[in-house]
Symmetry: C2
Subunit: 389 residues, 2 copies
């Protein structure tokens, strides 16, 4: 397999982008990534696009050629392929782009992720997002994504003594980080008291434990590592791209306080890259709900089982910590345009590894991790990215 | 790149499968393909699943891990990835499975395609299928897939003298072929008079020019060609897997009597395989509407531009013809479970190349072609498959 590098990155603002269409934001991110990679439209060989639910949200399927078309790139009749795995759609698209370059069939590939969540009512968008859980065994009985994650939180609190305040600290951290991210959906600071006191969504999770519904798009350009120096002074190698799955329904898992798919993807990724969690200085982890982040810390190997809450509370993952998580603000504060998330995470990690993250810069980062989850963990994707010196 | 072979195939009956769920048909096809490839569930490395619109049709996204889960294969936390490109979703999933094996990252990959179209009202299903055209520039103005294909048919008739009867002959042929296919949705014979006299859908296309809405699933198992003999006496090599795109909206094309994406995919596929259209003895081509098949014959290089109608009428593509098309009955008569179509086409070609097609067997077939289209041609996929002696 050929070694694959990220040559360029692009991202729109995340938020309620009511004045911009799906195709507009998709194009903006992709073209920014191409310019960043010093590539013209004539150099691209294929497009992969991660998206969760444009059919239900926008009455538009078949969106990969749509974006290629409206980006003005249709003349060369390139392959344009959409990939879907709920909220992990963007990370899966990146995996497919990685395979496409690694195989040798395509040289330069644009991987985009895009979602437009706010053109429908919030209740509708939440219902559509819950289609990433098991419809026949969970959703028809009234379970929604936050309700299922709330069950996970309750059990984690019961088994390990995780506290309500520890959950809240995830949101506080994310908002603090997003304050330095001009693309973030929310940049206001929060206190633990505000998070704990917010209106309940599914107890113990409240409004401020849940990532928002956002619009947004992100893109990266991939190419063979051997030619990366032509495009950038800071090539970022994809050291591992690993996808894993688990049962759709939470009830079918032996232990609901861990995501087995995350643990499997992380184990494989670290083995392939011959690195360990302690080598990772910066990570973007899945924090759709505050409990999601604590599970991720444990499942990825950054904290002992059951100790995500205390470890987070002790400051191990904030600025100056051993591993800084979610410098972008994460899903909670940078925002959650479902299909875009996995690509946006990699955009942030690349900026960190290049030393281009400005106020958010994590010092000395040479190895970064991106972790994306679909639904309640039936899909989990882990990417390890490494600066090439 | 490693050479890739099809090691096993499976397919459910196509039709109105009201007593069976999406997950049941997906599993049936996949397990049949595994048994055919003499593989156990412990041998699989990844699942790719082609599906157009399970979110809109069934309120269920994130279906690749769902199928893996209910197939009992979730324990090893394998990658499970859904691919979407309208009616070409299955063929795109095959392309991704091909890349996955060719790259060397995965050895044995199951590629499935599945769609459940009949659990909602016909009008709803047709509206959902039309989401594969350009929503903002076509569908909101009232255009549906058959209406757009009818425009293409009218122009083809105007420019090249294609007749209503020539269109009808495609449907007559497909039903005749499907009579020998026990998995087909429709096995009744039709006459040209019946097709021409059927109730209009979008003139000149009538009810019997349009493929039905079907439920169904199909699957193939892919693996490295070098180990194919362990699994089958008749390894089928993927000689080419090519994807191409075009504008979403028909109105943005310089010439609407041809699908530029099909022509591009075919050109690349024949170049890669170092073969020509005349080498192809058996082909499954996209015939969602009778006009689609005539365009395909021309765009794939089986007939001169504008001569698809007369060439078809002259019997060049029926039993005993130079290239036999749609021995399965095609989308028109075998059926049209959108995301399953591209995989089912390859299942039929593999059975033909192995000499296992029974009553439908095309004599002396060693090279076969599968051609799948999304929407009105914004995506087109061509696979060339070759028997290895």
């Amino acid at each position: 397999m050929r070694e694959v590098a990220v040559l360029g990155v692009g991202q729109t603002k995340f938020g309620e982008l009511w004045d911009r269409s799906f195709r507009e934001i998709g194009i903006e991110a992709g073209l920014e990534a191409l310019v960043d990679a010093k590539l013209g439209s004539g150099d691209v060989h294929a497009l992969y696009l991660g998206n969760m639910a444009s059919g239900s949200l926008l009455s538009q399927e078949h969106i990969a050629p749509l974006i290629l078309d409206y980006a003005g790139l249709v003349g060369r009749h390139l392959p344009a392929i959409r990939v879907e795995g709920g909220g992990a759609s963007g990370a899966l698209a990146l995996h497919e782009g990685y395979l496409a370059v690694a195989s040798g069939l395509y040289d330069y590939v644009v991987v985009g992720g895009a979602e437009k969540m706010t053109d429908v009512a919030d209740a509708t968008a939440n219902q559509i997002a819950s289609a990433t859980a098991d419809h026949e065994w969970e959703v028809v009985f009234g379970a929604t994504l936050p309700a299922l994650w709330a069950l996970i939180a309750r059990r984690h609190m019961h088994d390990y003594g995780t506290t309500r305040e520890q959950l809240a600290r995830v949101a506080v951290h994310d908002h603090e980080m997003a304050g330095k991210n001009p693309l973030a959906h929310y940049r206001n600071r929060l206190s633990v008291e505000q998070v704990v006191g917010a209106a309940p969504v599914a107890e113990p999770l409240g409004m401020l434990d849940c990532a928002p519904l956002s619009d947004g798009a992100a893109a990266v350009v991939l190419g063979p590592l051997e030619v990366a120096r032509r495009h950038t002074d800071s090539p970022i190698r994809i050291a591992a791209s690993e996808v894993a799955s688990d049962t759709m329904a939470v009830q079918h898992r032996a232990d609901i306080t861990a995501l087995a798919a995350t643990a499997a993807a992380a184990r494989r990724a670290f083995a392939r890259a011959r690195r360990a969690p302690a080598d990772v200085r910066v990570a973007e982890i899945h924090d759709a709900y505050t409990i999601s982040a604590l599970l991720a810390l444990e499942d990825l190997g950054f904290a002992e089982k059951g100790q995500g809450g205390p470890a987070f509370e002790a400051g191990g993952f904030g600025p100056g910590g051993r591993t800084v998580v979610n410098p972008s603000g994460g899903l909670k504060a940078q925002g959650r345009p479902f299909g875009a998330v996995g690509v946006a995470q990699v955009v942030e990690i690349v900026r960190q590894l290049r030393g281009e993250a400005k106020e958010r810069q994590v010092a000395g980062a040479t190895l970064g991790l991106a972790h994306d989850v679909g639904g309640t963990g039936a899909t989990s994707v882990v990417h390890l990215l490494e600066r090439v010196n």
